[in-house]
């Protein structure tokens, strides 16, 4: 394992410790070592935004803590949901008395831990409502949205929810905006190499050199098809074709596009993919209102890429346009 780690069982602890040291101006620790919060949180009068999930997805999740973004994050082990206690402590760190929007991804562990954390919060009188991201198209048929995973589309959900909260939205309004964001978002991933959880020491799945796995999940969950590796243009076509009919997106739509690397794929290659994606969207008369390319939501050192497209209306445009200051997403007001 060619890794920069100390005790493989303590990578999350060591990482959090370095993250806090590095970003003192933006992020603060809390009593719970697995919970980080925006330095200003809780912000008086504002709904708190919380998320959480397994580690290994840098900059997700803690990298999206910040201004007009997420107020507190519960960090789990690598690829494993944070504990109920961690979610609960994150709720407390984010709540200023206006309630908490817990915006997270659809994974069994997260669902259970959030459910238990909400029971604990209820006893404390903290109002918590949730939006569960399920943007990953290949993870289940359209008829079973409750089985679909949340992937990089979560970033758009946080952006929209975080912006609505910053604009003074009530808990129900924040939930509505975040739900609208994810309901209008679709994603798909392609995996090119497996990844290794440091404590495991070897990959727990394989992708044969010369092949690619379409629809792979953020933890290496198997995709829907393994084929010979294709050109960037063919990959882009494969991804766009899977996403567009699912919402469906239609001619005349304005969209936000996010191409994220899975960790070890050079950003150069992500731009090569994006080049074709935008071309294909233009052919369908779908115009890109905002675009993001880079390692926004990764899976350790996996090679591969995800494509996320969100259909925008006036409200979502306003929310996407808002200034944001987090490690993973910094955006100036135009």
């Amino acid at each position: 394992m060619q890794r920069i780690i100390n005790d493989p069982n303590l990578v999350v602890e060591d990482m959090l410790s370095g993250f806090i040291k590095c970003h003192r101006d933006l992020v603060s620790p809390t009593q719970n070592p697995r919970v980080l919060k925006y330095r200003q949180a809780p912000i008086a009068g504002k709904v708190g935004i919380v998320t959480g999930g397994g580690s290994g997805h840098k900059p997700a999740f803690i990298g999206y803590i910040g201004k007009n973004m997420v107020d507190a994050v519960a960090a789990g082990e690598i690829f494993s949901s944070p504990s109920a206690k961690a979610f609960y402590d994150a709720f407390k760190a984010a709540d200023a008395g206006n309630g908490v929007a817990c915006l997270y991804g659809n994974y069994a562990g997260d669902n259970m831990n959030v459910k238990m954390a909400m029971e604990l919060a209820e006893d404390d009188g903290i109002a918590v409502k949730t939006v569960v991201a399920n943007d990953d198209v290949p993870s289940a048929p359209k008829s079973e949205p409750e089985k679909r995973r949340g992937v990089a589309g979560e970033i758009f959900m946080w952006k929209a929810g975080g912006a609505r909260a910053a604009l003074g939205g009530t808990l129900d309004e924040v939930i509505a905006s975040a739900q609208k964001a994810i309901d209008n978002t679709r994603s798909i991933g392609i995996g090119l190499t497996p990844c290794t959880i440091p404590a495991n020491g070897h990959p727990n799945f394989t992708i044969e050199p010369g092949t690619m796995e379409v629809g792979i999940g953020h933890h290496g969950e198997p995709g829907i098809e393994v084929t010979d590796i294709q050109t960037a243009d063919e990959m882009a076509a494969r991804m766009v074709e899977a996403i567009l009919p699912d919402l469906p997106f239609a001619a005349g739509d304005d969209v936000a596009v996010l191409v994220s690397g899975l960790g070890a794929t050079p950003v150069m290659e992500q731009y090569i993919l994006y080049n074709k994606v935008e071309e294909l969207l233009a052919e369908q008369n779908i115009s890109v209102y905002r675009s993001y390319v880079g390692n926004y939501f990764t899976s350790l050192e996996m090679m591969g890429v995800t494509l996320t497209v969100m259909k925008l209306d006036a409200e979502l445009k306003e929310l996407m346009d808002m200034e944001a200051d987090s490690i993973g997403l910094k955006q100036f007001k135009e």
Binding site: N9, R34, G54, G76, E77, I78, F79, S80, S81, P82, S83, A84, K85, A86, Y107, A108, G109, M112, N113, K115, M116, S139, A140, K147, R149, I197, A199, N200, N204, F205, G217, H219, G220, E221, P222
Partner: protein
């Protein structure tokens, strides 16, 4: 019919700790086939923390179960945190204030643990989860216990049913959890949670059997 004292019952938790530690790699490998390969890591972290927290103390079974449950709920997360957290929590709750643990009480402990896991996880038998081990094992214990057989023979029946339940997952298609997204392709291998649940139930059974002797 036999019973054992709560005071010496922490041996059960010690046995759980040991069997998980010894099988951590095996459990991660099973999870790797159709899950994300961390089940052994998650379980090992929990029991090893419990081992540390219990080290040098002489506590009763209830306290040891509570310790394990607290760690699951506060520090472990994943699916295992809430599922095994609630499992050990119900066992601790039922056994609290009881000096002697007999088959009837253990039956209650098992049933409450089973019910709480079904509640939080909303899975059922046949979904390819730890429930496919747990439910038949609990039912087998209950049947023997209700039939008035000895604690030890009820435990033996539980073990046999747990193993059979675990193996039954091979031919199932996962319906909940991470692997459920695979559909048909999740068939043909064991479920990791079913495997760990079997190890845990068998380790408990063996250590109780020893305590009964």
């Amino acid at each position: 019919m036999g019973s054992f004292s709560n005071q010496h019952g922490a041996a059960i938790v010690t046995a759980v700790i040991k069997v998980v530690q010894e099988n951590a790699k095996y459990l991660s490998e099973i999870d790797g086939a159709i899950g994300d390969g961390d089940h052994g890591i998650n379980m090992n972290k929990a029991v090893t923390q419990a081992e540390a927290r219990l080290a040098g103390q002489s506590v009763d079974m209830t306290t040891a179960l509570k310790t394990l449950s607290d760690i699951m709920m506060d520090d472990i997360g994943g699916s295992m945190g809430p599922l095994y957290g609630t499992f050990f929590r119900q066992m601790f709750r039922v056994s609290r204030d009881k000096a002697e643990i007999d088959a009837e009480l253990f039956n209650q402990m098992l049933n409450r643990a089973l019910a709480s896991i079904k509640d939080i996880g909303s899975a059922k038998v046949g979904d390819k989860t730890m429930l496919d081990t747990l439910e038949p094992a609990v039912l087998a214990f209950e049947a023997k216990q209700k039939a008035g057989e000895s604690f030890a023979s009820a435990l033996a029946a539980m073990k046999a049913a747990a193993e059979q339940g675990r193996d039954s997952t091979v031919d199932m298609v996962a319906k909940v959890g991470r692997s459920s997204r695979l559909g048909e392709r999740s068939r043909g291998v064991l479920d990791a949670g079913a495997a760990s649940c079997c190890l845990i139930l068998c380790a408990m059974a063996d250590s109780i059997t020893e305590l009964l002797e």
